[in-house]
Amino acid sequence: MKKAYIFVFGGSSTLLLSIFLLVVAPRLQMGVVQSEGVSVQEPYTEQQAMGRKIYIEYGCIYCHSQQVRDPVAGADESFGWGRPSVPSDYIYDQPHLMGTSRTGPDLSNVGSRQPSEEWHHLHLYDPRLLVEWSIMPRHAFLYQQRTGEKPADKALKVPETEDEWIIPSEEADALVAYLLALKRDAEPPQPAGEKTDE
């Protein structure tokens, strides 16, 4: 065990190097974007922030990314998902929800692409009512189902039915408010010297 120091020394210095390069250095570089507050983004309202929590709770991130790639990397722009993302798009995002999967489409700009509140409610209630080929799960448990007369002001009629209605819960309203707030399509500010991955 005399040589344990070499081991501990070597093990720690390799880890230290990785902490420095992958945590400390990006924090210093990208913290600048954060502190200058240069962003076209608005802070989230209370309801949108609650919707963000619902988005996390129901694991939307496991199928939907929130980062648009350069045309070199993918057909993101051709699909109408918006301009390539920049770091300042995320200054109010804690935790970040960039995602790593596109089992569903990118949602960076879903608020611009689909501004209809009703569409989002019906789509969350049962995606296949609106998008026949969708494999997204239903989130019907976020809605109350009623039949008969229109039960409340904010009740929505289920398409292709005579008298079926859904009433969004507070959670559903918040989630839709968050989705509608996802707009990262304005021309980004360019802080001096900022260079991002293509």
Partner: protein, 513 residues
Amino acid sequence: MDSQVAFLILTFAISVTGMAAFVVALIQKQVLVPPEAALAIFSDGEAGEPEPDRTSQMSKKWRELDRSARFPIMFFLVSSIIWLLLGSFLGLLASFKLHQPTLLDAYDFLSFGKVRTLHLNIIAYGWLSFAGLGLSLWLVPRIAKVPLRAGGVLTVAGVIWNIGVVLGCLGILHGYSDGLEWLEFWWPIDILLAVAGAMVAFPLFKTVLESKEKHLYVTLWYVLAAFIWFPVLFVIANTHFLHVGAQQAIANWWFAHNVLGLWVTPLGLGIIYYLLPKIIGHPVASYQLSLFGFWGLALFYSQVGGHHLIGSPLPTWLINLSIVMSVGMVVPVVTVAINHHVTAYRHFKVLKESVVLRFVVFGAMMYTLSSLQGCLHSSRTFNYVSHFTHWTVSHAHLGLYGFTTMVFFGGIYFAMPRLLGRDWTRPWLVNAHFWIAAIGVLIYTIALGIGGVFQGMALRDPAGSFQASVEVTLPYLIGRSFGGTMMLLSHLILAYNVGSLLWAGRRGRKEAA
């Protein structure tokens, strides 16, 4: 800004100086380990012959060392199997939901997003951590050649860790999630896991410090290193207020890839480095190379996390660094591969006799495959296709199931009879477990890998549509569910085997009384 640049240069200089000093020390001392050091895993007269299959033929020396660790290790291994059953059931449910989206969707706690999250966390912190820790701590007394110290602390740590995983899962069900992949457990629960982890380290270091061995076998290097690395990773990544905005993404993936690289992989490789030569009865082909591979892993693997963010708005230098390091992983992977495969190839006929060896050799092969796959898809050319697709999930399962889980299965089948002093009641079921799991995981990864490539090509086609990228994957998602069903079936066989081994002991004691 200037002070930041100064800090940057200073930290860099410290790290590089440390590395340089370490390399010098390495050249002077450790590389010159005599080849006999590789024989440390054999007791007198054992080398040269395959490990006897019957526990009654075990040498007295190992029996005594195993006995010192029996209760805590059995507790860890049985816990791991319970988590495996639950975790793989949830994984299979999530898999079915992707091609049968209305399956069991009436309740929020069975929604895809929750089931998938539970699957990942239960497998990572329940199954893989418990099995990896249990097996490596079982090897500690065998390598240090002193009985396990403070076994009681280990048991208590296991209880706390179990409580932590249960609470973490309940939290996810009720919306208490940190929202970062691989870090979902709510942060107060992470404190519990950190405490339990520190308690596991106590018996480990106490036993190692009492060792009188001149050189500690390479397995222990991997285990000790994992214990230096993982706590630091876990604490830094879970201290969420340190990270902001887009930077949090890189901290997230630095951690998530290091769960594999600096936690599960060293434990899995350490176990292969022990079991493979032990069962065959001959030391690994080149012991010197194994130490070289160890330091290569430490240097390269710790910096690969950025390859999860190719194309994202993170700085180009950072992504490039991770790509270079990912490709650099070829070095340690090939050294480990030469060692494992040459050793296995020279004694291929032992594979016919030992099912445990079959698990270990299969695991070693999948380690080579999944690692080389990782080097390949970290390059931009390939990553532009594979990123955001099911390919990544296929790759994760090739690594965490094909490699680590299969090695842990082998470890459980080797360790449990030796810890308890009785043989498996139905050896053919152990063999059945191997074939069903091995074929299952191959179907899983091949189906999903091919589906992922088609999906990625559809996502790159500017003239195509997103719809095409969804529809092209459907047959492959069904194929994945088929492979997954086989994997779950094999876990039920494992549970039956372990249950009957424990039950046989109870019956044996009753008959004796």
